[in-house]
């Protein structure tokens, strides 16, 4: 593994190539026909995703290889997250196939943007270089900025897009500035290259304490924390997300709250856990070196952010009367739980958490999308009153997802929380776990509130049984199966994670 070598290896970026090709193909068909059929566009997207999944599987095998001058790395960390992103987009395509047409929105661009966003996300988990991470992040962000404003005649959608864009670019600036600082901090005239953004080299230099300036490194890390914190929506950088999530079209909200959040966590973990933390094992003797200081302060900062994020997310979610907004805050809270795993430095727990969370959350949003109807009109909790027995299947599915988000045993949500809390406990962050569990208990209140409204309130007026598209039902069924599978039979996935190799473990083994 020589980061200096060019090492062009198209197999290593096959998943990304396939998704880009699918996106371009959708665009071409759209350009050369009068109007692309939603079925065709959806089919191309689904086939592309299936192909990308196959490519990911073909790369699997416990190896750690870098290619393209160390820009791309292939390890199980990347592949696991790639699978999460592919699952996310697959489900999103399924739940929005019919929706795009019902909303009379242009179909081609929608699926094309989704596929480009997915490509960006795939790159974010594959990147082994800060520059590459930035590129992936921007590819994703630009696509999602557009998607937020996709219902362009709707003011809420416009507001959502503009806010997301302004605040998003603002935070990206922090990230970029942080990257520049770290690049500067890694300067060493005796080495080649003299300064670097490659994570592999960076880690080696951090570990041997060959740094130009410690404070510069810390300042850079802080700024990157701001940038990532914004993308995963942790307090206090979560402030944009409720407005954006509420205003964006529901399937896009589902995508934002799962896919782009998971992608940001992937890069976040890659930089902080696999590079910064890995460079400074807790047991190392260098107590006052810049790198152990880095580990200490970022752990503390992450811990405070995790506590704030969980608490703010849950407390504010309680008072929401709009289901989408409630789920936006719930999504913030869940980022907090995932952060608990990051504090513990356990990316496996984080990855399992995200996998569970995306499946459950997309399922929940799928139901909300159907009940909301055209133009997102019915999204207040009052609109859910008494619909339980009028549309039993949907209500039961939504109840399952909400209970799973709350963390009821035998569903994915429980396993995920269990793993995250377990690894934090094992790492000695007992207070954090206690706060997390208390928060988890608080969250039952607002999840149950929706269920209570659905089954025990007088029926709301004007509710008509929604007509379910077959694609949406397929998506829902997959989400339900996933939720139960991960909750009841997580063995296989946990096993894959347990065996997963990454730079950290291979380095430790060598």
């Amino acid at each position: 593994m020589q980061p200096g070598q060019l090492a062009i290896d198209f197999h290593a970026i096959l998943p990304e190539i396939i998704t880009v090709l699918a996106a371009v193909l959708i665009m071409m068909i759209d350009a050369f026909t009068r109007r692309i059929n939603r079925r065709v566009a959806g089919a191309v997207a689904l086939v592309g995703l299936a192909g990308a999944a196959a490519a990911v599987v073909s790369l699997w095998g416990g190896k750690v290889e870098s290619s393209f001058s160390g820009m791309i790395v292939t390890d199980d960390f990347r592949l696991f997250f790639a699978m999460i992103f592919i699952i996310v987009t697959f489900l999103i395509v399924l739940i929005s196939l019919r929706w795009v047409e019902d909303e009379e929105l242009p179909t081609g661009e929608y699926f094309m943007l989704l596929m480009f966003a997915t490509t960006g996300m795939l790159l974010m988990s594959a990147a082994n270089d800060l520059v590459m991470i930035f590129l992936g992040l921007e590819t994703t962000s630009i696509a999602t900025y557009v998607l937020c404003g996709y219902r362009r005649r709707d003011l809420r959608s416009n507001e959502s897009a503009v806010k997301y864009f302004i605040l998003g670019s603002f935070s990206t600036a922090f990230l970029l500035y942080g990257i520049a600082f770290i690049y500067g901090a890694s300067y060493d005239p005796n080495l080649s290259p003299v300064a670097t953004t490659n994570l592999q080299l960076l880690k080696e230099r951090l570990a041997s304490d060959q740094l130009f300036s410690g404070p510069m490194l810390l300042a850079g890390a802080a700024m990157m924390l701001v940038g990532f914190g914004f993308k995963v929506a942790t307090a206090p950088f979560h402030i944009w997300s409720p407005d954006v999530y509420e205003g964006a079209p529901t399937p896009v909200t589902a995508f934002l709250s799962t896919g782009s959040k998971a992608a940001a966590f992937a890069s976040f973990s890659r930089v902080f856990i696999l590079t910064f933390f890995a460079a400074a094992p807790v047991a190392s003797g260098m107590t006052d070196s810049a790198v152990s200081a880095l580990r200490e302060v970022s752990t503390n900062a992450l811990m405070v952010m995790a506590i704030l994020t969980m608490t703010i997310g849950n407390l504010v979610a309680i008072v929401q009367n709009n289901v989408k907004r409630m789920l936006a805050y719930s999504s913030i809270a869940h980022a907090g739980y995932a952060l608990v795993g990051m504090v513990a430095g356990d990316w496996r727990a984080v990855a399992f958490y995200l996998l569970s969370y995306v499946v459950i959350n997309i399922g929940a949003f799928a139901v909300i999308e159907v009940i909301a109807r055209r133009g997102d009109k019915r999204t207040e909790i009052a609109d859910y009153s008494g619909i339980g027995f009028q549309t039993l299947g949907l209500a039961a599915a939504l109840s399952l997802f909400l209970l799973s988000l709350a963390g009821i045993p035998l569903t994915a949500g429980f396993m995920a929380k269990l793993l995250v809390f377990k690894s934090a406990w094992a790492a000695g962050f007992h207070v954090l776990v206690v706060i997390g569990v208390i928060n988890s208990a608080i969250s039952w209140y607002y999840y149950l509130r929706v269920i209570v409204a659905m089954f025990f309130r007088e029926p709301a007026t004007g509710f008509q049984r929604p007509v379910l598209a077959r694609s949406l039902v397929a998506g829902l069924v997959l989400a339900i199966l996933g939720t139960l599978y991960l909750g009841i039979l997580p063995g296989r996935v946990l096993d894959a994670l347990e065996k997963a190799s990454d730079i950290m473990t291979t380095a430790a083994r060598r």
């Binding site: 802080a222 302060v297 063995g491």
Partner: protein, 668 residues
């Protein structure tokens, strides 16, 4: 092979759940019954063909389905275990279950949601078999929750009716209390022993029971052991689960209300199988209980008290199903009494015989209810024996069996329990005598209330002719007119199961004739069979018990006399005064429901409306909500919202956050 026993009913449930809506009733009935029939045949084959040929102390067949969870030191498998205990259970669960399915095809004819009913029923069979065949506590818990869910769904089967919904909710909540204890006990067991598996098995997994049985590990017989967090605590927490599921004091209130479900459900779930899951669990965990003497005493006392209290209530009920419901609670009390005095085999034996005669009695009552056109009040019955000959004849068999008349099945098992509690070595001096007296009194009351039920239903004047039907009509069916044509015998699909179960109620007892009674001429198959699967109390005096046949004969004589006193006394009394007004306290079920309502439910309601709602919700949350609503009002005009500078204020928050973070990182 073992997996097929559980999977076939599951397949039936899935087929019926997905496609049942479009099937005809015949087809649904065929699928539901045939899947259970396959399970039954397989169970008999596995038990007689595979398990029994094995040597006595090696009777265990394991089957690993898949590794379920394997995280760190925690391992749980989805694996099945067939041993004498689970073997006996699957035999009667599938056999009785099959005949109840057949009965239900006739009973439920023409009901709305016929497919739904049988889908749930098949799902119940699956869950119950998982519960019994599981080879570890966690998988047992899955089955435990599964049967609870099915019970909830089936009690609330007539979900358009308020009383059915209320009963379902009550069952659900009360069972959650029990399950909470079970789950805690399970966690504590794992915490202490590091395993949730019953036995050592070929996969090399350690066993929780081995830990429980380790020499010198028995808990002292003091009450402080309850809170010591050792075996006694584990045993009692598990017993809390059993109390909930098997309707013992103080959680028995849900079972009588559960009779709101269709009668075959009452027979299958709330008499023969599910409610005995608590007894199964306690017997399965006998290794834990025998080393926790305090827990044993509590189990025995709770069981005896429940038996007596429920029997007294049973005397004073007018609804034919309610009588049987309290009778079930009372008989379950007997089983726990047996477990508590260390006679686990006797408890299981009673489960076995009880499954036959109680299922028979419930199905018989179902037949009566159908024959009476959905009448359940015994005050409006009487003289039915000439209209429903088969039902009457079969129910007589059940009546004699439960009353403990010699040579019927209930006689052997009940006698065994009474004898074992009298001679128990697991308890201290006054207890065996006290428990025996309570048990004997219960036996007397059992004979009385069952005689009352039979006399009021089948003998005496035909009161249904003069009765008016305008007032409280507590039938479990939607229709029921104001005029009653003459009662008529039920169709074959209902009478055949009655006959089969009646034969069982007579004969099932001969598998376990107490040794002292037959002088060893008929060997006690059940006890021999269960011997290896059950742990024995530490200071058991087998030798003494074996020689002491004279005590056994005397005690048997006493119980025979008691049974006949009960039957003859009841007969003479109720024949003359069928409508004798029982004491209000008993008719009102000791006002336990009312007491719970006053002591628990109302205070919770008061707190939640006065404190939680008025103070927290109205003042705090609504205050915040109204604030948020003001904010939301501005969202309507999105442009103004944007221009009002909120996006800018978000930027301020981000910047302040960033500055704090960078400051902390740089300065530290």
């Amino acid at each position: 092979m073992l997996s097929a026993i559980i999977l076939v009913p599951l397949a039936g449930a899935i087929i019926l759940g997905l496609a049942g809506r479009r099937m005809g009733e015949r087809m649904i009935g065929l699928i539901a019954c045939s899947t259970v029939a396959v399970s039954t045949v397989l169970s008999f084959y596995m038990f007689f063909g595979r398990l029994l040929p094995l040597p006595d102390d090696a009777r265990q067949i394991h089957e690993l389905l898949f590794t379920w969870i394997n995280v760190g030191s925690f391992r749980a498998d989805a694996a099945l275990l067939l041993d004498p205990l689970s073997g006996l259970y699957i035999l009667f669960v599938t056999f009785v279950g099959f005949w109840i399915h057949v009965f239900a095809t006739g009973y439920m004819r023409g009901e709305e949601g016929y497919w739904r009913f049988f889908a749930y029923l098949n799902l119940f069979m699956f869950s119950m078999l998982v519960l019994v065949l599981a080879d570890n506590f966690l998988l047992m818990f899955v089955g435990w929750e599964g049967v609870g869910l099915c019970s909830y769904l089936l009690i609330g089967y007539y979900f358009t009716k308020d009383f059915a919904n209320d009963a379902a909710k009550k069952a659900f909540i009360v069972n959650r209390i029990g399950d909470f204890g079970f789950a805690l006990g399970l966690m504590l067991l794992f915490w202490k022993s590091g395993s949730i598996f019953y036995f050592n098995d070929p996969r090399g997994i350690p066993s929780a029971f081995e830990w429980a049985m380790k020499p010198g590990g028995a808990d002292p017989a003091t009450f402080s052991a309850i809170f010591a967090g050792g075996l006694t605590t584990i045993a009692l927490l598990l017993f809390v689960g059993a109390i909930g599921k098997s309707a013992q004091i103080p959680l028995f209130v849900w079972l009588p209300d559960a009779m709101a479900g269709p009668t075959p459900v009452s027979a299958l779930i709330h008499a023969a199988t599910m409610v005995t899951a608590g007894v199964y669990m306690v017997s399965r965990a006998s290794s834990i209980y025998v080393n926790a003497p305090t827990a044993m005493l509590i189990v025995a006392v709770v069981g005896a008290a429940t038996a007596l209290v429920a029997a007294t209530i049973g005397i004073a009920q007018w609804d034919i199903k309610k009588v049987l419901a309290y009778s079930t609670v009372s008989q379950l009390g007997y089983m726990f009494l047996a477990c508590g005095v260390g006679a686990f085999t006797a408890g299981i034996f009673h489960v076995f015989t009880h499954a036959f005669f109680k299922a028979l009695l419930f199905l018989g009552s179902g037949s009566v209810i159908i024959g009476m056109h959905h009448e359940q009040d015994m005050r409006r019955m009487g003289g039915l024996k000439k209209y429903m000959r088969i039902t009457c004849a079969t129910m007589i068999a059940g009546w004699l069996a439960i009353s403990g008349v010699p040579l019927f099945s209930g006689f052997f098992s009940k006698d065994e329990i009474l004898y074992k509690s009298f001679t128990s070595s697991a308890l201290h001096a006054p207890w065996p005598m006290v428990l025996w007296i309570v048990g004997a009194m219960t036996a007397l009351l059992t004979a009385v209330y069952m005689t009352r039920l039979m006399v009021l239903t089948f003998w005496g004047s035909e009161r249904f002719k003069e009765a008016s039907h305008s007032d409280d009509h507590h039938s479990d069916h939607a229709h029921g007119g104001d005029h009653h044509p003459a009662p008529k015998e039920s169709p074959l699909s209902m009478t055949v199961p009655l006959i089969v179960l009646a034969l069982g109620a007579v004969a099932a007892g001969y598998l376990g004739v107490p040794e002292g009674l037959s002088g060893g001429a008929i060997s006690n198959h059940i006890e021999h069979l269960l011997e290896p699967a059950i742990a024995h109390p530490a200071e058991t005096n087998h030798a003494l018990a074996a020689e002491d046949h004279s005590t056994e004969f005397i005690l048997t004589g006493v119980s025979v006399v008691i049974a006949f006193i009960g039957i003859i006394g009841g007969w003479l009394w109720f024949k003359r005064r069928p409508l004798w007004q029982p004491p209000r306290l008993l008719e009102g079920k000791y006002y336990v429901d009312e007491a719970y309502d006053a002591a628990i439910i109302q205070p919770i309601k008061t707190v939640s409306t006065r404190v939680l709602w008025k103070i927290i919700d109205v003042t705090i949350i609504d205050g915040a909500v109204n604030g948020a609503a003001n904010l939301a009002a501005r969202v309507g005009d999105a442009m103004r919202y944007l221009q009002s500078g909120l996006a800018r204020s978000y930027v301020v928050v981000v910047v302040v956050g960033a500055l704090l973070l960078i400051g902390y990182f740089v300065i530290r």
